[in-house]
Symmetry: C2
Subunit: 631 residues, 2 copies
């Protein structure tokens, strides 16, 4: 399948855009007229630059407000079209996108429009180009692909085709099934965009909030599956209007776009397979190794120096973690409690030390236990996440890894029966009894990452593509110094959960308190326990400093949930927060104070199938942290 | 008139909020329940802190989903209300806001609601408090103040009043006239918020886009005038939900809020006066000296060091500016051409040198010619803009000045017949013929300021309040590296125009090209000319470097406007941009290259009453500048 992207989708000058688009792996581009207008060179120059990069110019766009007009205006519009056809020859493209008329004085007469589109088709034929007619969701008279197709079908001319755009179809909940019945050769072009579901004017929504497939809420696989069924042989082309993308680094956005198309092809292939469609119909769609069925946290690895290591060891010890191993060839120590494994990496002149220099005490790697590490790695690398290999000592395990959006490492680990485990292979295990399966903590419940503003989309795409994780709906949390947008991703069986938090306000650089959201950052690690009311006193007795929760919170809790007084007293006594879901599932959780203003730990207990993260309590936690810092 | 603000309107911890609100000048506060919940102290502590600051707690809010419920739920809701009444006693406030029910299962039966609100009123009476009932614009059954008032009126109980909120009324275009007929003593509270007109879900609009009076599009003066007519004696209270404010510095936002209330009172007073309402009705509303009727640019003052001075002098000379004066006591030079005066300030250890150290070559002061400088200053200072006085030599003029939002100075200048002019008083005029009224340039057409993201609202408020300027509608300009939001302000007669540009994307700190929008920044100064086609060749011959405009722009211009070939050739030859308004007014403008990547100059000619700024060409200019920088 040819993969294309509209130049409007990413930031930069036209040359920067084309260079990044080529580097990302795309086959073709749509040239957006304004990009050409602003380029200081001729259309022939653009043609040459694209050709030098091996990029095909698959479309020129847009041509507006052509049809449903008076006879006088039709003549002018045809003149206008012919000038654009000339330009297309210089540019070396044979296809132009004609959007349905949005003018208030459009004449809503299908017969007239068919006549006028016929005139356009004949002009296109003379010029040797194809005009593609697209229904804008806010078109005055024509706003559905079904209406546009009836008109194109009635014109019945080889130089006039239909353009499909997933946004224009899915934003108005237009059913996609009828797409499959359109002959593929009559589809001139297919544009793809995802978007979050938003209750707003569709034009504004389209112009500012589109995003790459997999980042929004649309069922793009069903849309694309119907397109594939038509036999359409042209490109799938991303056309994204997104305020964040307009300001983000060009190359990174471009490669995320490419990944999102691969992912869409994979999802489309799966969707067609589920429907029992023959495999030869989908042979041209991207296929990657399946996402791992089972994923668990193997360990979390922190980049530390001596000071940070001592700090962390102090906290882990208070949580009754034990030092269970020392790496065979590196300055790396293993701490364990229950199924939770933490690795502290202080190796000089290593990836970890470089990460520490850049970010300070931070999560430099996450290791994921999977059924087949090699396959999992191949999948992630196939989605263009950069492979990483570090130094490996004799007999130590080579762990396949890719870099995440912030440059941190993601290892894939599997174990083979009767062979040494990863920990046995790489570590001298110093505490044979350390791995206490029946510990107070049961394991890593979830990890929360703090992201720079606007990088949420990139991270969601990373976990969805490379790991096959699912993304939950996002929600906004008020911080005393701004809003935080949070979205969680999780493995299919829920054993790995990662909450992604990004400042909405993009004031991270100026707001003192929000500095903790800056750059690469673990925000917190939540450890699970089966009984938080016995676990916490144990840790507190060990000196673990818990975040003090305002007393008013508990009064409000009483009013909201009608909790028994003794339960309330116990919550209050240990600064435990409480949440309850609609089905009666309960969540008990407590936070430590912040370590070095960057991160903290959480202890959580889930009851009755509670499946969230205590979102309702995030605001009180943020306010309590802000007050703690002011002291 | 008592002035109040809801704690939710600004950022920070509760104590930070109260401190900033007091410092800004407010009399009272609405305590938003979450702020109390997140505060680590008792309601009595909050009462004491507020009292120590001299702030009255005028309202506690919100109480939700009380009315239109089953009998069983009513009992629970009354219990809930009584607990809140207890809390209010601790807090020391007698008023609570009850919003109309938004629950899908609300019973839409007015008689039932009147009964239930009656029960609430009796409970309030027992507790000695007042419940205020407010129609949310998205209330399930009650969404208009007129409906809410019918219910409150029917209950007819002294402990139940009506709460008015300008957003809930104006967002749904609810007519305001009927407010005037409500008895003032039945109005329990009045909340004020402005907002830009946006086509989106009203709940989302309300929660994220409210702003201070004068910053949005609502006709708040008419709303407030009707409130004043009722005889309402309570506070006007700002209740603003704004994502930007949540992240902005607390103290600055608070004082902007206070200014906006003063401005609203002034506008309301004027509105009532226009309607012929007796003055005693409005005696409690803020009154400031009238805004100056005539305002002109007296001079623009640049902070320079030797290098920057030489650069600027070089450019000014190419534009045929002449050095016409040397300051009597400071290292300050005057350059003039036509009615355009530029002052270069290199005085050591001065305001200008401090400004230069912080911002480099920059606009450190603007002087405005007004009819009465003292009055104009009093007005600006009355709106709490900080007065400034610098060193003044013997016989030199003392210029009243206030600091703008970026700390730059704004001088007010008037001239008295038969007395030395400002320039004569302060400068040794070295070129008696320098002020060439018939020069190629006619004066300063407009100034464009580049602002940090989210400061647009503060600047609009500054020019509207301190100067009485009018604000035009805002528009978005695509920059190759992000979106720029632009809004122009202008004096009533249009002789001073200032365009304000702020990055929408708040990525200014990370995007290389947008660094030019950072911090305090003049973006450009536009000089007017009566004949750009003769002016430009003269300047070009003098060596003025013009920004090269892409040739494709002119091809497109031909297609859009059908311009004659010789006109197009002339535009192309001199890199002149062209715009035309709906009434046939025309705009011709050209830009210089950028000076030190911070700013540049523009030469403009207006024909036929053209009144804009060539907005349609901003994107091509930004792209051309980005390409220039890449070379």
């Amino acid at each position: 399948m040819k993969r294309s992207i509209a130049t409007v989708s990413i930031s930069g000058t036209l040359v920067e855009k084309l260079t990044a688009i080529q580097a990302a792996g795309f086959d073709g581009i749509e040239i957006f007229e304004n990009d050409l207008l602003y380029f200081d060179g001729s259309p022939a120059d653009v043609r040459r630059i694209a050709a030098d990069l091996g990029l095909e110019i698959v479309l020129f766009q847009p041509f507006r407000d052509f049809e449903g007009v008076s006879t006088g205006r039709l003549a002018r519009n045809l003149d206008r079209a012919k000038r654009k056809f000339d330009l297309m020859h210089e540019l070396g493209t044979d296809r132009i996108l004609v959007c349905s008329n949005v003018s208030p004085d459009t004449i809503g007469d299908d017969a007239l429009i068919v006549d006028q589109l016929g005139a356009l088709a004949r002009a296109a034929q003379e010029a040797g180009v194809i005009a593609g007619y697209e229904a804008l969701a806010w078109g005055r008279h024509v706003n559905s692909y079904r209406h546009a197709w009836r008109l194109v079908d009635a014109v019945d001319h080889p130089n006039l085709g239909l353009v499909l755009d997933s946004f224009h179809t899915l934003s108005i909940n237009d059913p996609v099934d009828e797409i499959a019945a359109i002959p593929g050769e009559r589809i001139a072009f297919v544009q793809i965009a995802d978007a979050p579901k938003l209750a707003m004017d569709v034009l504004e929504w389209s112009r500012h909030y589109r995003c790459f497939p997999g980042q929004g809420d649309f069922d793009l696989a069903s849309f694309t599956a119907r397109v594939i069924e038509t036999g359409y042989a042209g490109p799938l082309s991303l056309e994204i209007f997104n305020d964040g993308f307009r300001a983000a680094p060009t190359a990174i956005t471009a490669v995320d776009g490419y990944r999102s198309l691969l992912f869409l092809e994979e999802e489309t292939r799966a969707s067609l397979a589920r429907e029992g469609k023959p495999a030869e119909k989908t042979g041209h769609l991207y296929e990657s190794p399946s996402a791992p069925v089972h994923v668990g946290f193997q360990f979390l690895e922190f980049a530390v120096d001596d000071t940070a290591r001592n700090q962390l060891i102090d906290w882990l010890t208070r949580l009754r973690f034990r030092r269970t191993g020392q790496h065979r060839s590196k300055d790396v120590a293993l701490y364990q409690h229950g199924a939770a494994s933490i690795v502290l990496n202080a190796e000089a002149d290593s990836f970890a030390s470089a990460f520490f220099m850049q970010h300070g005490l931070s999560l430099c790697a996450s290791a994921f236990r999977v059924d087949d590490a090699k396959l999992a790695f191949q999948r992630a690398a196939g989605f263009r996440y950069a492979p990483f290999s570090g130094r490996v000592g004799p007999n130590e395990r080579v762990l396949p890894a890719v870099q995440g959006p912030d440059g941190s490492l993601n290892y894939f680990v599997d174990e083979t029966p009767d062979e040494p485990t990863l920990f046995e292979a790489d570590f001298v295990l110093t505490d044979a009894n350390g791995l206490d399966e029946a510990g107070t903590l049961t394991g890593i419940d979830h990890v929360c990452l703090s992201l720079p503003a606007d990088s949420l989309n990139a991270w969601v795409l990373f976990f969805k593509t490379a790991f096959g994780f699912q993304a939950e709906a996002d929600w906004l949390v008020p911080d005393p110094y701004g809003l935080v947008r949070s979205r969680a991703v999780r493995s299919r069986d829920g054993s790995v959960r990662i909450a992604l938090n990004a400042s909405v306000d993009r004031h991270t650089a100026v707001s003192e308190s929000l500095s903790m959201y800056r750059g690469s950052g673990l925000n917190h690690v939540a450890f699970g326990t089966a009984d938080i009311f016995s676990a916490l006193p144990e840790f507190i007795a060990n000196g673990l400093p818990l975040l003090r929760i305002p007393r008013n919170y508990y009064d409000d809790l009483a009013a909201r949930y009608g909790l028994a007084d003794d339960l309330l007293d116990a919550l209050r006594a240990h600064n435990i927060l409480y949440d309850r879901d609609e089905r009666g599932g309960e969540f008990f959780h407590a936070y430590t104070e912040q370590l070095d203003h960057r991160f903290f730990l959480e202890i959580v207990e889930r009851r009755g199938g509670y499946d969230g993260y205590g979102a309702a309590n995030a605001a009180v936690r943020l306010a309590a942290q802000a007050q703690q810092k002011k002291k």
